[in-house]
Symmetry: D2
Subunit: 331 residues, 4 copies
């Protein structure tokens, strides 16, 4: 599908992020759209019929896991106490072989625990993840929504059964990059998105209720060359100016293969993730980050089909403002 935003170029005043955010919010807010009590945001854009239709997109029956491995070799470097997962064993095979476990009839066992930030790897941002001037999704006060007990209203468990629908891969990296990779700092505009859709053909059309997966190629680079500053450093990503496209398309969710979804450095002199501030608390938009899209992209390119059934069920941690996920594209 197409929107008219590409014909009305948005110019950004780099010195005034707060003004730009306020203007974008005025154009794009979804507050009240699904009732004052709503906790589902843009997931309201998907219907059961959409999900039934999405299932018809399955052809070969090949599933793709879009998750990174969750382990100590991940991208995190301690920013705001975000570490990589620490996985430890409660019981092991070496113990079983050594005969020290005490189970009867030759049974041995292994068991394990994990400690990790919920946004350490492939993830969904929940609606309680970002606030705009002290306001959370749908206009609630941030402090009434997310306390030390977690998100009491829009915890990720409210999305436990809703992250299912039509997925569309937009391989912007392949369309506009070199060897399939956009450089760090590349701002993906609405025009880039539209042209990618056009280049990929009809199966790449984006419409209401879709999950849009944008491949930049940065993760390809990080997996090849090392994480470097992948977690929080310079990165390709969506331009702040795509806010209107994200709103007008009425998609259910937007996903990238990068740490932070939007272009970094951000497009203002002093800013931190301004598009998040418009998208999450004001639009109620679900954002997926650090998804591993390469194998899926290869398959889509091979047969020219960019749509699939996406099942990206978040681990339903009660009150979580984000969640690890192992998204499955079935095509």
């Amino acid at each position: 599908m197409s929107t008219d935003t590409t014909t009305s170029p948005i110019t950004l005043d780099r010195t005034d992020p707060e003004g730009a955010i306020a203007a974008a919010v005025a154009r794009c807010s979804n507050w009240g759209r699904w009732g004052d009590d709503d906790v589902h945001g843009t997931l309201n854009n998907i219907t059961a019929a959409d999900r039934a239709y999405a299932a018809t997109l399955v052809r070969s029956g090949r599933p793709f896991s879009l998750a990174l491995p969750f382990d100590n070799d991940g991208p995190q470097k301690g920013w705001r106490r975000r570490s990589n997962p620490v996985h430890t064993m409660l019981d092991t095979g070496t113990d079983a072989e050594a005969g020290v476990q005490g189970f009867p009839h030759g049974l041995g066992g292994a068991d394990d625990v994990i400690s990790m930030p919920l946004q350490c790897s492939t993830q969904w941002d929940g609606l309680g993840h970002i606030f705009d001037h002290g306001r959370a999704w749908n206009g609630r006060r941030a402090g009434q929504v997310v306390t030390s007990d977690g998100d009491r209203v829009t915890g990720i468990e409210t999305a436990a059964d809703r992250m299912v629908g039509r997925g569309v891969l937009l391989d912007v990296g392949r369309t506009f990059g070199t060897d399939g990779e956009l450089p760090d700092g590349f701002a993906i505009t609405t025009a880039h998105l539209e042209q990618t859709i056009e280049a990929q053909g009809s199966t790449a059309a984006v419409g209401r209720g879709d999950f849009v997966l944008v491949r930049t190629g940065q993760l390809t680079r990080a997996l090849r060359d090392g994480w470097g500053d992948y977690a929080g450093g310079a990165a390709p990503g969506l331009s702040f100016t795509t806010a209107d496209w994200l709103r007008q398309t009425d998609i259910a969710g937007i996903v990238t293969d990068t740490w932070g979804f939007e272009v970094r450095p951000n497009e203002f002199d002093v800013a931190f993730q301004p598009l998040h501030q418009v998208a999450i608390p004001n639009m109620g938009l679900f954002i997926g980050e650090m998804w591993h899209l390469d194998d899926l992209a290869t398959a889509c390119t091979a047969d020219g089909r960019y749509e699939f059934l996406l099942t990206a069920a978040p681990l339903p941690v009660t009150g979580a403002v984000g969640a690890p996920v192992n998204p499955i594209a079935l095509r």
Copy 2:
């Protein structure tokens, strides 16, 4: 489908679990069946065509999350250091409102971490979870597979993209229980499974590559009455004598709404989870536990369709011997 195991009743010598296990292993082992290097076990039973077919089972497009909420109010009581998840916040909305976060342009954020056993709630057992006399799946030495570093061979990440296929709900609780619930200690035999299939009709037929979800009703009871000894105490579950059925049906995975899949107390005088010892290291069978099947069961009963597309993608923790999962049934 049907097997002949119901006509050859297996009698158990309660004093000899080790002998019974050895005999069942002799009948049911899959070692070498998919090559010496195999790490996928019964997931080999699913083909791409099976997955494409499973997608055609979707009718209404209604998704069901089969996960319990992951939180402090879960069933764990500390057995072998298994606690409930501890979810804590790195940043909150109260902090954002208080203006203490230091972000520019009115942005506020919340972030969180979790610490939990990988088998604390709705889960898959990995193939490295259980050993038989020091041997892991496919005959490998337990100590060469699972060390303190985790499962180096059959870690749950090897199943990241494979837990997708046809799901079948067998509501044994509804068929044989009172008010839909089997009592604790009820041993579900092959006859019970077959009769449930027959009672439920053709959509409940079980065949190669299926994920079979057995509802006992114990979780219904625990959610209503309190956890009590749900984690490790008495429970309905599969009889040790179903080992042959589990093998002969060539299913991909077996799932229950209980803590431990098999009937407890176990059917020997001194034993601990003997069916696990046959199923995991010898058959390579994937076992799901603590799945919340009630809403799905209600829907299946309502329209008489017991099959669906199941996407139960484990969180791919590298080297994990089990994994939390938010399984999605789409029907």
Copy 3:
């Protein structure tokens, strides 16, 4: 030493905890006493000379550890997400013996991690642990002191080198209890404290800068009979009416062998730890809880000396509002 508070009995209006707290605060507050910037509270009451003197109290050279073991068998039951410590291994001796570690020249290693609430076992409450109507120690706003980043002002690291001085054991359990144990619900008043001091003799005199260790015997009971509701249930402990004694004695810290230091149920119809509310934010008093005093008490009783050098150095977790500690009494 002696105070006159025993001669002016305080009567409590059980329906008005807020009024009683306000009145006690008016009598006992230390706000501003050590300057507006103070972060050390009653630790200001100890001088270097006091510590040098405390060292002269050492006679036999026998050290006593006053800590409980930190492990999975502790008293916690999940109240406000307080669990027992979860200790897991990163490397083990079984792995070393199995030869899977990869170190040269026959070296093997074991290593471990822990996850635990800072107040799960033997501990110090920090000054940021409790607030009175939104105010922290010395009158600061609670929200400016303790955010999700931790205690930015009075974190326990500020007390890292100060928990050293003269310790005095008051064995109220032995003086007033049966077989050395006070019953749950027993409110220890100033009179009980004074009479214990008198019964124990001159080495039990309490004065400025001392750490006072009050043994109730409840922990003796819990270690013998099982934890039961030790964590948060009924318990012997200090009466709310001891606030004045705690203030007038100018002690450095007060310690008990109970979960919560004050008597439980609390002495008002609807209340939660009202003496904490007076003592921590208003007096700046350090409170130790769950200290294991039995062996020390036995030794003190044996030779009639109730004073010793106490070194109770908190684990200096930056920004912590409490800390685990292994207190050492050297006598």
Copy 4:
């Protein structure tokens, strides 16, 4: 005190660490010295009289905490899953001010948890930390001592009340370094230790039962210049050749301000911490690492007294092979 080892120089064959270790073990082993059941190793070298004497060394009454702060800004970088501590809040002052906590009479609270490797910062190595060819302290099989359950025999809790005695600071950095700092790779020999003792005078004499604290100055450098490769990289430290001195002096423990106690790179072509392999499993020697000695060193230098009462009580985590500690020197 003095030993004759300086007169018999040990020459190392860089190609044969295993031979050198075996030879050192033959000279230095303490196996069986304190009985077959012993779990205390060199802590047996301290007597009650020694501790009483150590208390007499206190002059000014000034305590020094020798611990680093435990926080996210520590030296760890993920080696063998060792991360820095992750400290998170269960309740905060911002929550209390926001009025969302639900406590009565104006009470507010803050509470916190930590997740950390036990050897992430200032620490004691326990006797179960290192093995020599599958053998732990006193000749026990490593796999019978340290399993996934932790150290079942020599867990750090066995040392809970024993880390108290005379401490001696040997400021080798000041004696042999530039501006008080030894360069990375500097191997401290017995001669260096002896000459430091001689330079510092009679209060620096080292004898049976002492805790010897060796300052190299590397931590001074790391705190000034950034951690860099402090955790595991090149460092000054004790030469392998000091094994005999460590044994013959009959000290209770040895401590450095470095990550790994011994010089790095180690003094063999292919090796990993060979002196640990001699000292821990064979001598039963307790090793402290990452102790912050600068303030203490300044004070010792100022008045020429290098001895003090050391109370370095490990957090008694049951079964731990190492422990965080806040050591207190009182002088």
